[in-house]
Structures are given as C-alpha cells and as structure tokens.
Amino acid sequence: MAHGGVGPAGRLAEGHRVTTTVAADGDEKAARTGAGGLPARAKVAVAAGKVTGAVSRAAGRGSGAVIGGRVALRLDPELLGRLTTGRACVLVSATNGKTTTTRLAAEALRAIGPVASNALGANMPAGITAAMAQDRDARFAVIEVDEKYLPTVAEQTRPKAIALLNLSRDQLDRAAETRMLAQRWRDGLAGTAATLVANADDPLVVWAAGLAQHVVWVAAGQSWQEDAWSCPQCGGVLHRPDEDWGCASCDFRRPEPAWALEGDALRDPQGGRVELTGLRLPGRANRANATTAAAVASLFGVDAQVAVKRMEQVTAVAGRYDTVRYRGRALRLLLAKNPAGWLETFDLVSGTDHPVLLSVNALSADGTDTSWLWDVDYTRLRGRPVLVIGQRRLDLAVRLQVAGVDFTVYDDVDAAVDAAPPAQIVEVIANYTAFQQLRQRVGA
C-alpha cells in the first residue's frame, strides 16, 4: 500500500523544525478497500466479531468489544489492516496519558472529519479491531495502543502519525523492562513512513524515535525522571541541568523541540502561543497531552487554536477526572497506575486541602508486586486527611507510616467516604483495577 501524503520528504535531523502536513488518504485507496470494500473473508470476520460481541454484552460481560475483536481476528488475521486501509490513522502510545491523548487528538481531528477511535481504552489488537469494525466510515482513526503492541499495530495500520508520550516503570512483574520497550519501539519504528510526534524531554522516548525518518519533537516535560538517568545509547550517566539533558559520555542529547508546553500555554513551531487554561482536564500532564495532540492535529492541517478549542470540550476520559456525587460527597476520580502517574496526580491535588482517598489493588492487570509504592513520594500528602482502601491497603499503610503521613484504613469505599467531612470534595486516587471497581461502585 502506498503511504502518500507525507509532505516534504527526506530525513529530518534531530531538532529540525517540522511543519509537515499529512493529508488524509486519497480517494483511490478508499475506493479500492475502504469502508464498503472489504473482501468476503473480512466481512465474515467483522460479522462474527459483532455477533460474538453482542452475545458477550448480553451475557453481561462488559462491552463485548475485546472478545468480538478476538473472534474476528482469528477468522481474519489481516482484519485490522483491512479495517484501517483507506483511513488516515494516528497511533498514540505511552506508559501514561495515552487514553487521554487519544481522546484529545480525536477531538481535534473531528474539526476536519469523522474520527474512529478506541475511546474506552481497549488498546490491544483485539480491542482496536473491534473499535475499527464498529465505525467503518470515518476517514480518520485515532488509536490508543498498548506499549508492547506498538510495532505490530503500526505495521498493520500504516499510520500517518504516531505520538510517543513517555516511558517509565509500570507493572514490572509482567511487562518487559522499560528500556527493552524503548528498544522494541526503536527497532519496530525504524522503517515507518509515519511522522513520529515524540516527547523531547523523555530520553527513552528520544531513543525510541531515534531511527525514524520523520520526527516532530515536542517539549512535553517529564516529572518522573527515575527511569532516565542512564543513557539508553551508551549506558553513561545522563546529566539534566534544568530542562536540558545529555549524556556525559556520548553524543546522545535532547533534540530541539518544534512544539513546547510552556507553563499554561503551548508554543507552536512558528512561535505562536495558544493558552491552555481553558482545558477542562486538569493538571500539567494534561496540558502536555494537549500540546502533543495539537502537534498531531497540525500534521493534518488543523490549526492549533482550533484544535485546543475542541479539546476544551473534553471533561472526562473513561471516567478519569470525572466528579461524581456519592453518599453526600463529591468524589473526583483520578487514575494513577505507576510512580510517574502518582507524581502527576499529586501535582493535581496539591493546590487543595481536600481529603484524599487512596485505593491500591495488585491484580494481574495492576501488576502483582506492590514494591513500586516505595517509588512514590507519599510525603506529599502530609498534613491532609488521608483515607486508605483497596485490596493492598496494608501495603499502603506501611508505606504511609514510613512517609510520616497520618492516615486511616477502611475496609471499603462506603466506610471511607462516610468518614470524610460531608459536602466536601474528596480526591480519589486509585490504580487500575481499583479505579474500575470504584467507578462501578460510585456509578461513574
């Protein structure tokens, strides 16, 4: 398949300012294999996937999307490629922020046409396939991809753009080590025709994007730096004066960004500033996500002002940042899955003195080793009421004791919420399955 549409071709040196414009795929491909034109086998697969999905939904097993996608992929392993042929695809991957950035980029691209997306965060091939089968007509697709599957999904969907936000330690008992993931991205994306939109402030991301032909660097920041002291190129020690970074032993260093998050505004490659204060998603991390989403949208000709205006409409993403009333309190639901995520979340709540309710599980989707709790700086919660629940509340209790934080442990969310002062906002921070359980319980 042709990749047409990538503007000024040729290798872009690190730090090059890029204003590449990527057009949506031409009519030719759409006519050949687009929405209506799936081969018979693929049609059967899509139909079977939908039936399975419907059966699964009827049986009360979640949305049914993943199981449907799995069945469909078994019937036609090429299905994801077929379902994305004829569309301009954007992939988004990272340790943190990929669901939100996917949502923001999709909103921005809707300025120029319908966008298909796996908006609920089902980010492995089966879930992505199901989402693409659900919406066969949209010209654009913005797809969240699990870090481990990025090279595979990139090969199948042949995206126009790939956003790489960050890489840090997450679920080490089951995921590959962080640097191995960066290496896998680097090798897997070496020959991609996509334009990478990559975080210049994350050395592992810069390493991962290092062999790609077209890269737009975004200074999106990096709060958590504990996985980025060792040079991915030579193993030397990275030096990080202020925002800059570079290896003391080799030539690996921060590329010059074309886009940047600067305080409450983004700076585009022409030096224009767009205020991000109107975003309803809170915090520095979401301003960074919006900056990356704007850089992605601009590849398709969407002006940054327009993109940000559209992103301002997003209030919650798959329940995250949602505020719900429950037992006479307002709960703000925040997801934090790993040390980097907790750090960004503490930034969010640090401006308030609201009580904080923490919930930590260690099911297989969370990683069953809770050692990571000790990488999180819980001293940031000193001086405010801290309520602790979750399957691993005792691990958290020990952690908080050693951090010098006053806390109270409860057996369930109802008991904890009842203990918070009435009519107050409670900041709820939970890791992955704890978050899902909370959402179900409080009806978010």
């Binding site: 330690r169 080490l172 008992d173 089951r174 080590e177 640097r179 191995m180 504990e226 002291w229 060792s230 193993g235 030397g236 020690v237 003391a248 069953t368 080793d369 809770t370 050692s371 990571w372 709790l373 000790w374 990488d375 001293t379 005792l394 691990d395 209790a397 020990v398 952690r399 004791q401 050693v402 951090a403 010098g404 934080v405 006053d406």
Partner: protein, 260 residues
C-alpha cells in the same frame, strides 16, 4: 553524591543522641532501583531514627565514588544491562570493599545480591566477575521466578533473643545462585524459589553482609531483618522501638494469602 536528609515519621526526632550520624549509603539508584529499592533505605532510616540516631542517607550515583566510611550499604535490583554497568563501575571502585573490611553492614537484593558474589551471568557477555564479597556464584536459571516467596529464616539469625520470623517477599528474577562454604542461606524456602527453582533456599549471609532475592521491598515485609542489619551497624542487638502494627498486619495478610 546526594545527601538526602532523613526525615523520620511521627515519633522519633533525629539528632538526639549521636555526635556522629549513622550513615546509610544507597549504591547506584540510577541503575539498581527497579523494584522499589528505595523502600529499604527509607525503612532503615526510619528505624535508625527511632533508635536515637541522627541519620544521613547518601545516594551514590554510578558516576560517583562509593564512600568507604559509612555504616550501612544498600544495593538493589536491576535488569541485565544496568547490572552489567554497575558491576563494571563497582569493580573499579574499592569503596564498598573497604567498607566491608571495616565491618560495615550490607543489604543486597536481587541483582545487588548477585553482584556481591564471585560471578554472575549476563545474557550478552556470559559469565562476568562480580565483587567477591560473598561466597556465592550466580547463573542464569531456565525459568523466570515471579511471585510470592515464604522462607524460614536461618535460626542462627536473631534480633535480641528472638529468632527472625518467617521471611515474606516477592521475587522476580531468572537467577540461580549457588552458595559456597563461606556463607549460610538466609532462609529455607517454603513457597516460591529464592536462589533458583529447586534450590530450596533464599539468599545468603556471612559476617555483616546479607543478600536476598526478595522484593516487597524486603524490609517492608520483614522489619526484623531491618533491625538485624541496624544491630550489626550500631552494636545494639535489640529491636527498634517502632510500632510495627501495620508491618505485622501486612505480614500476616501476605502469609495467609499464599498459604504460608
């Protein structure tokens, strides 16, 4: 070298008794801190403060020299490449060796445990020399050992008159470690693998050096082990005056969860 002021939790105030601080060195957090290893440093500092010590925690990055004159050294877990880099740098730095000769206490976990031995195995470069401070030799096992571990501690190890209770932790490694004549196993494994599938033991100790494959971090699940190491460092063999209620509940829950 970063001197991290130790801030004890509610309770003890640092700086009361000692004219000289109890110094805790964390070796190479930039390379060997993959599995919450900072927790061991935090717990030692917390308990040392409760014992009345002024505590100084010193984080030594891998381009810095390891001081030879501290009291406790921590060396933690890491993947293949960081372990190889750490070995290269530590072999050129005599700081830890001199500290051990002076009688400093060492807690070494996972990759750090392997580095204390004679040799370890690297996927790319094969058998590589380690520091030779413990009489153990590590190899590549055939299976990845991931999950909860319960081990009965060596009955010779005591805090005061009390033998160490069962050790609980989480392992995640591919190592197999063979113990030489010069060490005793830290524990006899009841659940999990420890020093490799079928080994029957976890970790090793000799003198004031103790190594283990257990994360959790190990001292969060086993505060008595922290007191053992602190007793080696300050000569006070008794337990730290800390309310261990949450530690004990956590231990109890973990032991029940795995049927130990």
């Amino acid at each position: 070298m970063t001197v991290v002021a130790s801030v004890p939790g509610a309770g003890a105030v640092s700086g009361v008794g000692g004219e000289s601080a109890l110094r805790i060195v964390w070796i190479y957090p930039d390379l060997l801190s993959t599995y919450g290893d900072q927790g061991n440093a935090l717990i030692l500092a917390y308990r040392a403060a409760a014992r009345g010590h002024r505590v100084e925690r010193i984080d030594v990055r891998s381009d810095q020299a390891v001081p030879a004159d501290a009291d406790v050294y921590l060396i933690g877990g890491g993947e293949d490449r960081p372990q190889r880099l750490a070995a290269e740098r530590l072999r050129r730095d005599a700081g830890l060796k001199h500290a051990v000769e002076r009688g400093a206490a060492v807690l070494a976990v996972c990759a750090g445990f392997q580095l204390m031995g004679h040799t370890f195995y690297d996927e790319q470069e094969g058998i590589l020399p380690a520091l030779g401070l413990l009489d153990v030799t590590s190899h590549r096992g055939s299976v990845r050992c991931v999950g909860e571990v319960v081990a009965d501690a060596d009955p010779q190890l005591r805090v005061g008159q009390t033998p160490l209770p069962a050790l609980t932790g989480f392992e995640n490694h591919m190592g197999t470690t063979l113990l030489g004549e010069g060490v005793r196993p830290l524990g006899t494994v009841r659940i999990g693998n420890g020093n490799g599938a079928g080994s029957g033991t976890d970790g090793a100790h000799a003198g004031k050096i103790v190594g283990t494959y257990l994360h959790g971090p190990v001292l969060a699940r086993n505060p008595a082990l922290a007191d053992l190491v602190l007793g080696w460092a300050d000569g006070n063999p008794g337990p730290s005056p800390v309310d261990d209620g949450w530690h004990l509940r956590l231990r109890g829950e973990r032991l029940v969860a795995v049927g130990g």
